[in-house]
Amino acid sequence: MADPVAVRPSLSGVPATAVRPRHSAVVRVTHWITTIAFAALLVTGAEIVVSHPRFYWGETGNVNTTPLFKLPIPASRRSVPTGYGYVLPDQNGWSRYLHFQSAWLAVLTGLGYVAFGIAKGHFRRSLVPSRSDLSGRGLRLTISRHLRFRRPEAAEAWSYNPLQRLTYLSVIFVLFPLVIWTGLAMSPAIASAIPEAVTILGGQQSARTIHFFVSLALLIFLLIHIVMVCLAGFRSRVRAMITGRPAEPMEGA
């Protein structure tokens, strides 16, 4: 296969439609469906946490027991002592309905994406870093470029750098599976069918606490991802993820 840089539409002169897109249609569609589902999961997850902003370790925990930690925020339930003199409006009902529906959307989309990625070699080609990228020198180079907020070179619009690859792989194969697992471990019905899913984590309250931290890690990833997209060139990167092409298609080509 040709080096992707060599087939950039602005250089090749072939009609834009004949050029392999920067992101395949499956990647683009699943990216935006996941974006919508993840946004819904974040907002509704935060609403659910507000009803009991205390976290525990082990199987059980309630306002009569000592928490692992408390979030310094008001709660949406009167029964939780927060130190604030007021109670937030309760948004748990629709938040829970939407949380689980969005989880289905994210999980089914993610399964489709992973099946596509394995079948079509997307992970191997675009995400698994090369051996030289993982050498001390290669990593140092890319980290130092990031730390200096150096804008990426034009060629980088056509492939991911090693740090990006490692980050995306950990989001796809570590954080997402973990957040799904810990979410399922909170379900009493799932816990009855697969008790090990809970006991390995140390209990249902442990699952809830880990779910919170993994969600936090995903939120941090999202924020850095958005900052990086802005630094790299918001318009071209977002255009690439929508149309498949980073640059304006050539007129009359």
């Binding site: 205390r54 309630n62 748990n92 829970r96 989880a103 009493p188 009855s192």
Partner: protein, 252 residues
């Protein structure tokens, strides 16, 4: 070009027809096998239906985890309920002598049992986790009569598909499908941690559905009704929970 478009049109059309009829078949099969929850309408109905259907297929017979006596929470927590009023207080002061649990609807022998009669039925115990949708939880030992025993005494008719149960609190009622109603761990509980079930925890009688969130374990139950169509109750959403914005099925 035109033949390409025509072929494409035909295949797209066939795919659409196939998709729609596939969905219709799936829907009717799901209805027949009881995989559609009563609150399946609305914006989040699809997600709710997938959760319920998936768990009915995967967890129909699974048993809630049971714990050891050492794991019983020393400090359980009871969510406060609205004041139960003078009638409840009077019955409570008389030691719930007049508390009754009625069983009616699709049964051969409609019945009404006193608390004393229910305490005399063969009882079972379970040490299980009660988790509230808010996020907190505790473990307790619950002793009571399996709901299936009570349904058997009243002679449940084979047409019955849901068990509706009513709390002393008028606007609190819920329902179970038969998979949960006949599940061996679904109890009508009268004893908690080897003492009478305290009022704060739902005494004298509460439903206990350990494979679902706490709100299905309705407190102060007074009546059980068997039905083939749960949509005839309340606003037709299966329980008071969806009327307040919460899912009918709480196995998550």
């Amino acid at each position: 070009m035109s033949s390409f478009s025509r072929r494409r049109l035909v295949t797209t059309g066939l795919a659409a027809v196939g998709g729609v009829s596939g969905l219709a078949v799936a829907r009717s099969l799901a209805h027949r096998y009881g995989l559609i929850p009563p609150d399946s309408g609305g914006l989040c109905g699809p997600g709710e239906t997938m959760t319920y259907a998936a768990q009915r297929l995967l967890t129909r017979h699974s048993m809630a985890r049971e714990f050891t006596r050492a794991q019983i929470s020393q400090q359980p927590f009871a969510n406060s309920v609205a004041p139960l009023g003078p009638v409840f207080q009077r019955i409570e002061q008389q030691g719930f002598r007049d508390w009754r649990l009625s069983v009616d609807g699709m049964v051969t022998h409609p019945a009404s049992f006193s608390l004393e009669e229910i305490r005399g039925f063969p009882s079972r115990s379970q040490i299980t986790h009660l988790a509230c949708e808010e996020g907190w939880s505790y473990i307790a030992e619950w002793t009571g009569v399996p709901l299936s025993h009570i349904l058997g005494l009243a002679g449940a008719l084979p047409q019955a598909r849901f068990v509706v149960y009513q709390s002393f609190e008028r606007d609190w009622w819920d329902s179970l499908d038969l998979a949960d109603a006949l599940h061996p761990q679904t109890f009508v509980v009268h004893t908690m941690n080897s003492g009478h079930l305290p009022v704060a925890f739902g005494g004298p009688l509460r439903m206990r559905v350990p494979r679902q969130l706490g709100y299905k374990s309705v407190k102060y139950i007074t009546g059980i009704t068997l039905t083939d169509d749960v949509k005839r109750f309340g606003k037709g959403l299966g329980s008071a929970a969806p009327e307040a914005g919460y899912a009918w099925y709480a196995g998550i």
